[in-house]
């Protein structure tokens, strides 16, 4: 049997991406055109500018992904695209491109939700033992999922306000560290003292798996404000380190508890925040004590990419869950109500 080749397309935020994945786990090509530099001067992603760039780049990126994999449209089994959540205008470029390609090439179309795609990044690099718990943390979402297998999961908890990555971005901005905030905080924190400031750990020990990061963000902003008012010197490294320690402590504790409660054989990290060094170190330590396997994708598969979309699309393809040509973008797609 010839291998199942899926073309993945991703345009939910500020990365224009296309990739070809074989059999749901073998990376054949993975092209990402990042717009991060273009949005930096605005201090964050500007939806209209992102949408315009996606349209200019998408077909070239798809050509590169096909060429990189050495295949043509004809050899594809299906085309997979991120339908949401994300920026409406940005998602629409990918969705309309994908479904028109599927129509014109006579290929099935699969619509992937972005969070499942982040989870699936793990399948590209690891043989995962199920059941598993996955912490998905990025600029747009923070949730804990319990996975029965590759294609069935339930949401154990999620953030009630800001996403973890969003808190990183906002604190980085408050500290004048620039955008995107995750890597900026991570590197600034290296020379800081994580115990310098006692920032709040929201919902720690609450017994559920929900998160809240807006109180933490406000505490950092208030601390900065007070220091400035008193004319005291601001040690950005100490603040970054203390903030990061607070986020990581909560993420690690809840993830560890979720794994214990579900009897998970492995724990996965997914999303941009999974690239955070401290989070990986602390989770690795905690899970080693518990004897639970721990996996996370390499940094380039943690941030938005289309290989993860193709990997997640493979599972939908296998179940023949195809999308129609009336597929629309779902900017606020709620994975809790994911069919």
């Amino acid at each position: 049997m010839s291998e199942v080749l899926i073309l993945g397309i991703e345009t939910s935020c500020d990365e224009t991406a296309a990739a070809v994945v074989a059999g749901g786990c073998i990376l054949r090509s993975n092209i990402v055109a990042s717009q991060v530099a273009e949005h930096r001067k605005f201090g964050g992603v500007v939806p209209e500018i992102a949408s315009r760039r996606h349209l200019e780049l998408i077909n070239t990126v798809i050509d590169s992904a096909l060429a990189g994999a050495g295949v043509t449209f004809r050899e594809l089994a299906a085309i997979a695209v991120t339908r949401g959540p994300g920026l409406a205008g940005a998602l629409l470029v990918g969705v309309n491109t994908a479904k028109t390609l599927a129509f014109a090439c006579g290929k099935p179309l699969v619509a992937v939700d972005h969070i499942s795609a982040h989870v699936a990044a793990n399948y590209l690099v690891h043989e995962v033992a199920f059941p598993a718990v996955c912490l998905v943390a990025s600029g747009g979402h923070t949730s804990l999922l319990c996975l029965e297998n590759r294609s069935s999961f339930r949401v154990m908890g999620a953030t009630r306000d800001d996403a973890a990555g969003e808190a990183f971005d906002k604190v980085a901005r408050a500290l004048g560290l620039g955008y995107p905030g995750g890597p900026a905080i991570d590197s600034c924190a290296r020379s800081g003292d994580p115990a310098a400031f006692a920032f709040p750990r929201a919902f720690l020990g609450s017994g559920d798996f929900d998160f809240s990061f807006s109180g933490l963000k406000s505490a950092v902003v208030n601390t900065l404000h007070n220091l400035r008012q008193r004319g005291e010197e601001i040690n950005a490294a100490d603040i970054a380190a203390s903030f990061q320690a607070a986020v990581v402590e909560v993420l690690v504790a809840k993830t560890r508890q979720a794994a214990k409660d579900t009897g998970a054989r492995s724990v996965l990290l997914a999303g941009g925040v999974a690239a955070n060094r401290l989070l990986k170190i602390h989770l690795a330590q905690a899970l080693a004590e518990d004897g639970t396997a721990f996996f996370y994708p390499p940094p380039e598969l943690c941030t938005d990419n289309a290989a993860m979309v193709a990997a997640a699309g493979f599972d939908l393809y296998r179940q023949q869950r195809f999308a129609g040509f009336d597929l629309n973008a779902t900017p606020a797609l709620d994975i809790l109500h994911h069919e």
């Binding site: 209209e48 949408s51 315009r52 349209l55 077909n59 470029v93 969705v95 390609l101 009336d326 629309n328």
Partner: protein, 239 residues
């Protein structure tokens, strides 16, 4: 030569096929429902109903703007993907030019106006004559500015486009008898006009690749406008 025309730049979601200069079919929806859901099913039905497959097409013409940014992108993304998958030449047609071409042999000036929000309109002027020559490039301006400009002239002016209905009173107040309007079915953007213009351009050796086809936004994004204004201000302050 068979050309598919699509136009999703305004409220109208429209697709048409022309073959050898003849319009075979046109479907147009004027309902508030997202073009992203409607366009491709409309194209699929259109082709099936005239007994054609995508492989029978020789080119795709699309209303490339100006118009709703999102609407324009849906049309252009669809055209680009068709061009990429089928290796077809593409023709980006000005939404305003396509509208003006619906005026037929109206003897005066033709002035399509599209709602550009924030109290402005997208507009271009087209001269009377056998070949309707452009009198100005596509632009975005206040209705008042356009009417002032037209008050300096003496010809009859035909207005079409989705800007007519909200502004009809103001237009008549300014131009009186000189203001002309088509019947309702001539007011909105139709893909048949886009396909017809596209076919003419293709026959004349025109057409671009899917990489080259780009939207004609006319207007910058608001974030960019604000950013540039800020840069100018800071520059002006002697930074």
């Amino acid at each position: 030569m068979r050309v598919l025309g699509i136009d999703t730049a305004t409220l109208a979601c429209s697709a048409a096929v022309v073959a050898g200069g003849e319009i075979l079919a046109e479907y147009t929806l004027l309902v508030k429902k997202t073009h992203s859901e409607r366009l491709l099913p409309l194209v699929a039905k259109l082709l099936a109903d005239v007994g054609l497959s995508v492989a029978d097409l020789d080119g795709v013409a699309v209303a490339a703007g100006p118009g709703s940014f999102t609407g324009v992108r849906i049309g252009v993304a669809t055209a680009r993907a068709l061009g990429q998958a089928l290796k077809l030449p593409l023709i980006g047609v000005s939404t305003l030019e396509a509208l003006a071409s619906q005026a037929g042999c109206f003897p005066g000036l033709v002035s399509p106006i599209l709602d550009a929000r924030r109290g402005q309109i997208y507009n271009a002027l087209f001269q009377a004559g056998k070949k309707r020559e452009r009198a100005c490039p596509d632009r975005v301006l206040d209705l008042g500015e356009l009417l002032e400009e037209l008050e300096q002239r003496s010809e009859q002016v035909l207005f079409l486009g989705d800007g007519v209905t909200p502004h009809r009173k103001a237009i008549v107040a300014a131009l009186g008898e000189r203001a002309c309007f088509p019947p309702a079915e001539g007011l909105f953007n139709r893909a048949a006009a886009v396909a017809r213009l596209g076919q003419a351009e293709l026959a004349a050796g025109g057409g671009v690749s899917y990489i080259e086809l780009l939207p004609l936004y006319i207007r910058k994004s608001e974030a960019e406008v604000k950013y540039l204004a800020r840069c100018r201000q800071e520059g002006g302050a002697g930074n």
